[in-house]
Symmetry: C2
C-alpha cells in the first residue's frame, strides 16, 4: 500500500469510526435524560466509573429496565476511559424505568427513565421463529432469510468494508454471516486493523482486556447493516486461527482461549451487542473443527448466552463435518453446512426447527471443492432448498490475485447466482413461506413441491421434461384429493433466465402441458376452480 492509499484508507476508517456515535440510536451521559428510543431500538445509558485495576474484570454492572409487569435485566460493560454503558432493546412503547446494581459504588443504584416511541417505518423488530419452520419479524411482517457470507468482513481495511457495504446494498441479501474473531486461513493471511482483545507480550489475546475500538467498529458495521435491512448472523467462535509456524500452535489464539475466558467474552459480547435488533448468535462456524472443546463445554457456552441475552436472539451453531444437537432448547433454528439440499425435509423432521443451509458450497473457482461450483448449481441449490421448506445461504469464491474473495473479505460480487437469488426472493416474497407438500404415498417423486400462498411451486431442478400431464400435481393430489377436479393455471418459471411466462389457457383432467425442456425450470400451479366435493 503506498502512502497515498494508506492515507485514504485511514480517512475512510475515521469516517466509519466517527459514524458510530451517530449510528447509535441513543447515547446518553449519566443523569441526563435519554433521547427518545423506538421500540426495538437501542437505549444506551452511560456512566462514569472506576478506572483503577482492571474495570473489565473487577466491575460488575447490571441494570433492570421495567415497564409495568415487564422487566429486563441486562449487563453493562466497560467501554474504556472510565466509561460504563448499559444498553437496552425495549419491546414496547412507553416509559421504561431503570435501576442499576454494581459492586462499584459509583455505578450502583443509578436510576432513570427511557421514553420509547412506536417503531418507525422500516423497523420491524428482531426476527423470530414463526410457524415452526419459518421466520418473521417481531411485528409480524414477513422475513425470509436470503443470506450471504463474508466471514472476515470486519477485519478488513475500512475502504474495503465500505466497498462491501455498497455491494451488499445492491445485492439481494438480507442476512450476513460475519465472524467476531479474525480469520487466518487460505486467502486470509492479513493482519486486521483492529483486534477484539488487547494482545499480551507473548502475542496471545488477553481475554481480560477487550479492545473497545474494535467493538465500536463492529457495532458500526452492525448498525450499517441494520439500516440496510440486513440481519447479522454473528459467528462467535471459529477454528480459523491456525498457524503453521513451527513452535506456534495458533496464529492469534482466539480459538483456544481458556473456558472461563470464552465465557467472559460471551458476557461482554452480549452486554455490548444484545440490544441490536438485527443480531443473531451463531455460536460457532464448524464447531466440531474447533480443537479441544467438548460438547459439554459448548453447552456451557450456550448456558452463558442464554443467561446473558434477555431478548432471546435467534441462536444456532454451524457444523463442519458433524451436526450439533439442534434439539437444544436455546437453539432456535438449525444452521447447516451441507452440499445436499435435498435433505432439507430430513433436517426439519429431525430438529423440528427452521433449517438454514448456510453453506451448500460457494459459487467460484478456487481449488477447494466447497468453493468452486457454478452459478447455475448454486442457484439450483437455493431453489431446491427453499422449495423443500428450508433456507439456503450464498457465498462466492472466485480466485483473485489480490486475495479479496467475497466469502471472506467482501469487495464486489462477481458471480451469476446473486441475480437468480434475487429473482427467487421476489417470488418467495410474493407468496411465501414455502411449505413443502409431503405425500407419503408417493414413491420416487423426488421433485419438490411447495405451497406458495394459494398456488403450488413445483421445482424441476436438473430434470427437464418437455411435457407433463397431471402427474406434475401428483403430490398435490396426494394431500388434497379434491383438487383433482380443479381447473389450473400454470406459470412457467425459468429460474436461470429469470422469466415468468404464463402458459396460455386453463388445464384440467388429463391435460398435457408443454414445458421448456431445459433444466432449472419451476412451475407455479394455481387452482382456479374446485368442483364441490359434495352435491
Amino acid at each position: 500500500m503506498n502512502s497515498q492509499s494508506r492515507l485514504l484508507s485511514f480517512v475512510h476508517f475515521l469516517s466509519i469510526a466517527v459514524s458510530v456515535a451517530s449510528l447509535c440510536v441513543c447515547v446518553q451521559v449519566a443523569h441526563s435524560a435519554p433521547p427518545d428510543v423506538q421500540v426495538w431500538g437501542m437505549a444506551e445509558v452511560s456512566f462514569r466509573g472506576p478506572q483503577n485495576g482492571n474495570p473489565f474484570v473487577d466491575v460488575d454492572l447490571k441494570a433492570t429496565f421495567t415497564q409495568g409487569r415487564s422487566s429486563f435485566t441486562v449487563r453493562g460493560f466497560y467501554d474504556g476511559a472510565g466509561t460504563y454503558k448499559v444498553r437496552f432493546m425495549p419491546n414496547a412503547a412507553g416509559t421504561w424505568n431503570y435501576r442499576t446494581t454494581s459492586n462499584a459504588a459509583a455505578l450502583a443504584n443509578k436510576s432513570g427513565q427511557v421514553r420509547v416511541l412506536a417503531a418507525a417505518k422500516g423497523n420491524h423488530g428482531p426476527v423470530r421463529v414463526k410457524e415452526k419452520f419459518h421466520f418473521a419479524f417481531a411485528d409480524g411482517s414477513a422475513y425470509y432469510p436470503f443470506g450471504t457470507t463474508i466471514y472476515a468482513m470486519v477485519h478488513q481495511p475500512a475502504v474495503l468494508q465500505e466497498q462491501t457495504l455498497a455491494s451488499l446494498a445492491k445485492s439481494p441479501f438480507n442476512k450476513l454471516r460475519i465472524c467476531v474473531f479474525p480469520k487466518w486461513y487460505e486467502y486470509n493471511h492479513t493482519e486486521p486493523p483492529l483486534l477484539p482483545f488487547v494482545h499480551k507480550a507473548d502475542g496471545f489475546p488477553d481475554p481480560t482486556q477487550p479492545n473497545p475500538a474494535y467493538w465500536r467498529m463492529l457495532e458500526a458495521r452492525i448498525m450499517d447493516l441494520q439500516r440496510m435491512g440486513v440481519e447479522v448472523d454473528l459467528i462467535l467462535f471459529h477454528p480459523y486461527d491456525e498457524s503453521k509456524k513451527p513452535g506456534q500452535p495458533v496464529h492469534w489464539g482466539y480459538d483456544n482461549m481458556p473456558p472461563d475466558a470464552n465465557k467472559a467474552y460471551l458476557r461482554y459480547l452480549a452486554a455490548r451487542l444484545g440490544a441490536f435488533r438485527n443480531v443473531w448468535w451463531s455460536m460457532a462456524n464448524e464447531w466440531d473443527f474447533v480443537g479441544g472443546r467438548s460438547v459439554e463445554q459448548w453447552n456451557e457456552l450456550f448456558d452463558v448466552l442464554e443467561q446473558e441475552d434477555p431478548y432471546k436472539h435467534l441462536t444456532s451453531i454451524h457444523n463442519g463435518a458433524k451436526f450439533f444437537d439442534h434439539t437444544r432448547r436455546s437453539i432456535t433454528h438449525t444452521s447447516v453446512q451441507a452440499a445436499d439440499t435435498t435433505k432439507m425435509l430430513e433436517w426439519r423432521n429431525q430438529y423440528a426447527k427452521p433449517v438454514i443451509d448456510d453453506e451448500c458450497q460457494y459459487e467460484g473457482n478456487i481449488e477447494s471443492e466447497w468453493g468452486n461450483i457454478t452459478g447455475e448449481e448454486l442457484s439450483h441449490r437455493f431453489w431446491d432448498g427453499f422449495v423443500r421448506g428450508g433456507y439456503v445461504g450464498h457465498g462466492e469464491t472466485f480466485h483473485a490475485e489480490d486475495e479479496v474473495l467475497w466469502w471472506s473479505k467482501g469487495g464486489v460480487l462477481k458471480g451469476e447466482s446473486p441475480a437468480r437469488i434475487g429473482f427467487l426472493r421476489k417470488i418467495v416474497e410474493s407468496c411465501g413461506p414455502l411449505e413443502p407438500v409431503i405425500d407419503k404415498n408417493t414413491r420416487f417423486v423426488q421433485t419438490p413441491v411447495a405451497r406458495c400462498g394459494d398456488s403450488f411451486l413445483i421445482y424441476l431442478g436438473e430434470h427437464r421434461p418437455a411435457l407433463t400431464g397431471p402427474g406434475l400435481l401428483r403430490k398435490v393430489f396426494g394431500v388434497e384429493p379434491a383438487l383433482k377436479n380443479a381447473r389450473w393455471r400454470f406459470e412457467l418459471i425459468d429460474t436461470w433466465a429469470m422469466t415468468q411466462t404464463p402458459a396460455p389457457g386453463e388445464y384440467s383432467g388429463e391435460f398435457t402441458l408443454r414445458l421448456p425442456g431445459r433444466p432449472y425450470v419451476a412451475v407455479r400451479a394455481t387452482p382456479i376452480r374446485v368442483k364441490a366435493a359434495r352435491k
Copy 2:
C-alpha cells in the same frame, strides 16, 4: 401400419426367425455326431421324444457331460413338435461324453460325445467377478460393463429389433438389459408378436405351455448380441404388467403367476439359455414392486436358479425403492437403481461385491423424473460412478409420438451421452479397472479419485476449479505418502468435449496447475519419478 410396411415387417421377421438355426453354434439330430464346438460355445444335442400329454410338464430330461473329473449335469427342454434338446457350455477343450436320464424311455440313457476346440478369437467366455469389485472374461481378458437398457426389445416387431441391433453395433455399449416377459407400461401399450407362453382362453398365460417360437426368437437375439460382444443382462421377472381395465387386474398376467409356475419357468429358461455364455441373470427389475411376492419366495426362486445353472452365470436382482439383500451367496454382484452415484463406495462396503448402478435415471425429456435428465448429467453420473469404483448403466427416454423410446423398445439413439460414455470406455479400457483411492483421514474431499493403472484419475464433476495445487493429490498422498516426493505429469480430460490435453511440463512440490474452470473435467495424474524414501 399400412399393408406394405406390414409385409416388409413380416419379411424382416422371417429373416430373423430363419436365422436362429444358423446362429446356434451346434445343432444335432439324435445319434448323429455333433459338430465341433468351441470352449464356451454351445453344444446342443437333439432327440425325438414323446408328443402325447404335455411334454413340457410330463417329461423330465437331464444330461451329464463329463470330461475327466469335470462333469456338468444340465436339464433338457422340450422345443415342440416332438423335439427335445439338451444344451451344454463346455469350459474346457477336448472330448466331453454325455449320457441322459429321463422318465421317458425314448430319451433315457442316450449317450454320445462332443468334441470341443479351443476358443476362437473374440470368444473370451462368460463374464465373472474379478478382484472382488470388478469383472473379467473367463479367459482373463478385461471386461468393464458399459450397459444400456432396452426392456422390451424382444417384444417389438422384427424390423424394429433389426434397427435396434444396428444402433447397438454403432454404440459404446457392451451390456444390455432386456426382459423375458413383455411389458405393459407408459409408452408400452402394444402387443408383442410373440409371447413366452401360450395363453389360455381366459387370456392368462399357461405356464405349462411355453411358446417355443418366442424362445427361439429370444435366443436369436442373444446370439446376435453375443456376436456383437454384448452381454445380455436378462430380466426374469418384472412388475410392468398392470392393466387399468376394470375387472382385469393385470394385462397379461406374467407378474402374478403361481409360485410353482414361476419355478417351472426358471427351470425351462435355465435349460434353454444357460449354455449362452453372454447371459446374465437379473432375477427381477424392481423386485419390490412385483406384487404379492415375499422375500422368501424370491429366495426360493434364487434356489431354483442356482440349482439349474451349473455355470454360475452372473446373477443379481434390481430394486425399485428397496434394495434386495445382495449378500446372498448366489448373487454375484449388486444391481442398483439409484440416482445418486456418490454412494458407490457405501454399496461396495455393504455387499462386498461389484456394483452396477443400472439405472441412475435416463437421458431424455419425458414426464417421469427418472427419464428426463440431460446428456451432461448422465455422462457425469457415469464418470462419477466409475471413478468411485462402480459401474453405471445407460438409458434413453426422449418423448416420441410413435412411442418408440430407446429405453424400452430400442430404435435409434438420439442422446448426447452415448458418445461420452464411449469416451469414458476408451479411457477405462486403457488402464482399468478403476479402483477408488480411499483416504480415511481426509474429511470433506468428496472428489472421487481412482487408480487407473500407473496413474490416478481425479474426477472433478460439478466442481470447476480454475487452478489447483498439490491438494488435488491429497487422497493419493493419504494412501501413498511417498508420492509426495514424486514429479507428476498431468493430462486434462474434458469429459464432455471428449478431449485429452496434456498439461505441459512436470509438476512437483507446491505446484500450481491451471485447469479449464468448467464442470465435468477429470485429471489424469501420473507420477514419473519417486525419490527414494530411504537413503
